[in-house]
């Protein structure tokens, strides 16, 4: 019987290795749990359900007539998201062409600069961009628009340049072989190929930006977040609940629009 062939998924050595990795993961988890537990005031946590219930009871009934004061901030929020996205898309498109390996004028000099712009834009949250811009150009909707667009440039440019790098090069060859100029090669050979990505990414980013612009008011960069912060400051919880419901509905609608648009493109 001993020479019967028995198949196992892994060799004995790999098996040991896998179990050792599991062991490490569990040890790490327990260690972190211990640290968090040490840093937590368990007294407050025990109290949490009661406090949450208390806060909830203060939020109802929502003060519906406060909605009247929300329409304009809500409109601002939509504008911040939409204009910010448009600005970002306009700036991100050339950056994407400079960053893509197959369209950049210089892999050694231009591409790293474009990639740096993309990384720095992506690594700074729009709330932080807002904080910086409010100090530079003052509070208001404009700061919000620029904050949103700065954060979005990296996102849009990154996804776009990846799409450019994955195009079918023979279509580009075919257009170049007709004697077309570089700009014609771009508009005929490349652009139609990345158009679905371009449209999909733009709408997706717009949808994300609506969510992000609702909190920009917290740092004074305009939109419904201003009302949210003001209401929390004066502990007007019945207004806070109205604002949260308004934000929720806006986001649901924007997600629906974004899903419909992307579905119809692809």
């Amino acid at each position: 019987m001993s020479d019967e062939l028995i198949w196992r998924r892994r060799t004995r050595q790999r098996d040991l290795m896998v179990w050792f990795c599991y062991l490490l993961a569990i040890a790490l988890f327990l260690f972190c749990l211990e640290r968090i537990s040490f840093a937590t005031e368990w007294f407050f946590v025990q109290d949490a359900p009661r406090v949450a219930a208390d806060l909830g009871s203060r939020m109802v009934p929502p003060k519906w007539n406060y909605l009247r004061e929300l329409w304009i901030p809500l409109w601002d929020t939509l504008n911040i998201a939409t204009l910010g996205t448009l600005l970002a898309v306009a700036l991100a498109t050339p950056i994407a062409f400079l960053a893509a390996r197959n369209t950049t004028p210089s892999i050694r000099f231009v591409r790293p600069v474009a990639l740096l712009i993309i990384v720095s834009s992506r690594s700074i949250n729009s709330l932080i961009w807002g904080l910086l811009l409010v100090t530079i150009i003052g509070p208001g909707v404009l700061a919000g628009i620029i904050a949103i667009s700065f954060r979005s440039i990296g996102f849009v440019a990154k996804l776009l340049y990846e799409a450019i790098e994955e195009i079918d090069e023979t279509q580009v060859e075919a257009i170049a072989a007709t004697g077309a100029s570089a700009t014609q090669v771009m508009t005929y050979g490349i652009w139609p190929q990345i158009l679905p990505t371009f449209a999909g990414v733009s709408v997706f980013r717009w949808d994300i930006n609506i969510r992000e612009s609702t909190i920009l008011g917290l740092v004074g960069a305009g939109g419904i977040g201003l009302q949210l912060q003001a209401s929390i400051n004066i502990v007007a919880w019945q207004q806070v609940s109205v604002i949260l419901i308004a934000i929720l509905l806006t986001v649901v609608v924007s997600e629906w629009v974004s899903a419909r648009v992307r579905h119809s493109i692809i």
Binding site: D168, T178, G179, T183
Partner: protein
Amino acid sequence: MLKLENLSKQYDKGDEALKEISLEVPAGQIVALIGPSGAGKSTLIRCINRLVEPTTGTVVLDELNITSLKGRALRLARRQMAMIFQEYALIERLTVMENVLSGQLGYVGFLHSFFRRFPTEIVNEAYEILGRVDLQEHLYKRADELSGGQRQRVGIARAMLQRPRLLLVDEPTASLDPRTSRQIMRLLSEICQERDLTALVNIHDVALAQVFVDRIIGLKNGEIVFDGKSDELDDDTLTHIYGKEDWATLRQTGADDSAGSIRGGSISESSDEHMRGLS
């Protein structure tokens, strides 16, 4: 008409794709380039219109030294050399008409091409050519809605609208079924005759090449190992180009296939029924 002198191409990785190729093609001749994968056929064709930059050597088209051209002059020279591709290389998301009109990109300015405002006589010519390749009903379809044979005919129409003097054809039939392959090769050779074009055709299918071309050039490891009339190509030469194989049997299959394709005309499979004018 076309003259290559000591044309060589060495890729960055070091492999030598072409070794000192010299050949001359008189006007109006259809030449097939045969040879195993990696023999340098595609590189050779792309060195002629400089989609691939040759390392040394010259390409001369009607006294014009193409290898020395730059920028705008190169683009003007490219207008005379239309290319047809294996995977059709159509712009998939544009319509059939837009694809055909893109053959004119070397003639019209950026803004005109961007807004699709091509001169009326060009649009009329495009209609005419689409009629010639029997695609007029599909004018507004997107290229990715067409069958393989139809797509290749769009590719041919695009090349024709370029008003070339030379056709560079890279494996026109490699993605097509045997019957459509024949129809495409027949269409290509008819068009070359009608318009008095010279053509260089890369092709895998030796039997098919022998039916439709005047001259065959065999490439192996970047060198020309055969150059002669189609009927001069014998089994020994094929063995020299491709390696040992029972060529007689293969030819037999090829002959059966051609007989089959004639009968196939009445059986008529699937999407290529519109090919009335061609089959």
